[in-house]
Amino acid sequence: MGRVAVVTDSTADIPCELIQRYDIHVVPLTVHIDGEVFEDRVTITPEEFMRRLPHAATFPTTSQPSVGRFQAVYNGLADHYDAIVSIHISSRLSGTYQSALLARDTINGRMPIAVIDSRSASMGMGFAVLRAAQMAQAGCDLAEIERATRQALEATHTVFLVDTLEYLRRGGRIGRAAEIVGSILQLKPILRLEEGVVVPFARTRTRPKATAGMIALIRDLPTIDRLAILTTSDTSDVERVAEALADRCPRERMLCCRISPVLAAHLGPGTLGIVAYEGDGPPAAEARA
């Protein structure tokens, strides 16, 4: 049985030590701020990007990795692996998945490549990437890994709050949350990633209420195996969230992650997210039946 390489993109927000431990291959997107171009998490760190964001003269923009970049990565892996699973940010938020598909088709035949649209982002796909990587290390074949990855994506729930809807709106990533834009009152809305797009959950008006609402939403899940707490800049709520969920998920199974510059460019400062992974089994299809 051959070896399977695991590829994702820089928006997965998986902490560096886990990327190294599980031998995950990360393709960066690019972010443009004030006329400069950076490779996400390669030539600019989340911390540096958030330092610059509030002072940016114009809203930053982002772009997907080129097809060529994916070709190079896939070709490079062909010497050491027999197959690739390539898991990417929702095709409704970015063209990354399309680039990966094109790259797969143009190098067709060299090796089997499963390109998966996570219909999510950040650790919303990160947990599935980790699951795939664990299975790859355990020597599972591509079909098994692909199936498990899709199950893991189904078992992952992403909820977040933004300080302002302005970044999502300007960046065109607002999705169905567009219907809550236009309030003359302050909103700290609770949003979710659903079917790969941003959807509104509640028009919360203060950060503490939004945080409490997110915690309540996560607590409603029947099981929690792992949690990720995501931030763009302000990490002051992380401890509060961790504390409030500690009885549902042991601390050592929680990750605190900085959101990548590419995602942060569309979310803005002060974003706080919680991602819950329900666990490896039973398969979602059976759970629903």
Partner: protein, 570 residues
Amino acid sequence: MTGEGAARAASHAGTVDTERTRWWSGRTLLQALETAAAHLEAHVAAINALNVFPVPDGDTGTNLFLTLQAAVREARRHALDGQPPRADEVLAGAAHGALMGARGNSGVILYQILAGMAEGSQGASHLDGHVLAASLRRGADLAYRAVGQPVEGTMLTVIREAAEAAETAAVRDGSVASVLAAALDRANDAVARTPALLDILQQAGVVDAGGQGLAILLGGLQRFVDGATLAISPADAPPAAAMAFLDHLDELHGTAEFGYCINFLLSGDALPVEEVRRRIAELGTSTVAVGDATMLKIHVHSDHPGAVLELALTYGELHQVRIDNMTAQTRALVEARAADHPPVPAAPTAAPTSIGLVAVASGAGLTAALRGMGADAVVPGGPTVNPSTAEILRAVEALPHREVILLPNDPNVIPTARQVERLTERIVRVVPSRSVPEGISALAAFNFDAGLDENVAAMTEALSMVRSLALTRATRAAEIDGVRVRAGQYIGLVDGRLRAAGDDAVSVTLAVVTQAQPEQAELLTLFVGEPAAPDLAGSVAAAIGEAYPHLTIEVAAGDQPHYDLIMALE
């Protein structure tokens, strides 16, 4: 008020016919009710002034008058349909008019009383003292039963005592005049004793406004007995505010409607409302059947209007039958629309499963704020102008949603909102918000993914997560809960209670904020009202920001009448 003068001019001085004193036919009863309404109208301002708190608020006199006016108009319309009306028919019509026209808490209680009187008089072609006593008793019983926790020292006490006196008097003398006189006497007594029963009235130095209004209504009937005949303005407004909303159903017709649109009133003694609705619905589409066991307004689309009418005839009598050919209308409508607008994609229609949100507020700014927070419709109305049941009902019926949550945003609008629950085929739930800040807090808790019950629970819970503060001017001098205030001074309210008074708007505002536990809050929203001075919001925001630097202060136009500021602290 010229009402009294006009009243006197209209009365036939000295000509007291026996029908006025012994028993009333339906026609006489109608005149008596109309005289009582006109008499009440002359006292509206005096009753409005009997507010517990010296704030522009819950105008009981206005609400009682408008409700009684709707009752009289509907009773008159009802009476015009047939032969000389019977007394029980007049009361049934009045009850129905009051149901749809009810405004405010007092209006809803008046409706309950009239509904009880209609029940209590059933079978009586004339109203004599015995029937009057029995119907007052039934009215009192129904009013008590309708109120969750009856409070003594209110309209309830007055109607109960009046009914008791009427029953006693009827044993001795069965004339309308003596029974009414006894009821009125006791009602006046009971009104005078309301402050002894309700501490807040004692503190404010007023009698209960609703109770006083009821006694004045009985006093108007007494004036009729004494020979006066007063008139209220004719129903120039659309035919009885009642059910007027149905006249707008056409607006809801799509461009793909064919067949006939059939509208009529069905009257009967004990109409099986659900059964009628179900059987009519079997014959067509877009069925709406609204009303009660004595009268239903029915709207249905069908290819066979004759079959619909024949079915209805098996239950009772038909009135005001109107049948329109929608195929022809649709053709005309499509042509007219095409001329007006180039074809555009249809407005995004709400999924039939989604929940509609209807709020009540006055002021362009508050309306915009509520809409921005997700309200699909905002019914004009607020502390001083309470919307009628029919007005709220119409807003509900105009929405595409099958399920609707109502936010009354005023304690006095909650009872009318609750009436709407049983008047429509939509599933309507009331989240009893007592202020616009509470309404906004509830809207913020609305969850896009949850169902009706879960949302009602979450939104109701959210009502207590905000403190509602207000700055206005005292309408009179008062001393309540240790706060002394002169007429015209600024007063500050916390959750509807008087908490501060003074001549300086900024310090009164700061005082109420201080009393509302600002250290536990993080956001203060100021809605600037019509009477506010241009620099008020800025000065208040600066003073509060200095005193409580941790608070985020948000200033928005509210444009509400009477209140300089309405504030949400959360």
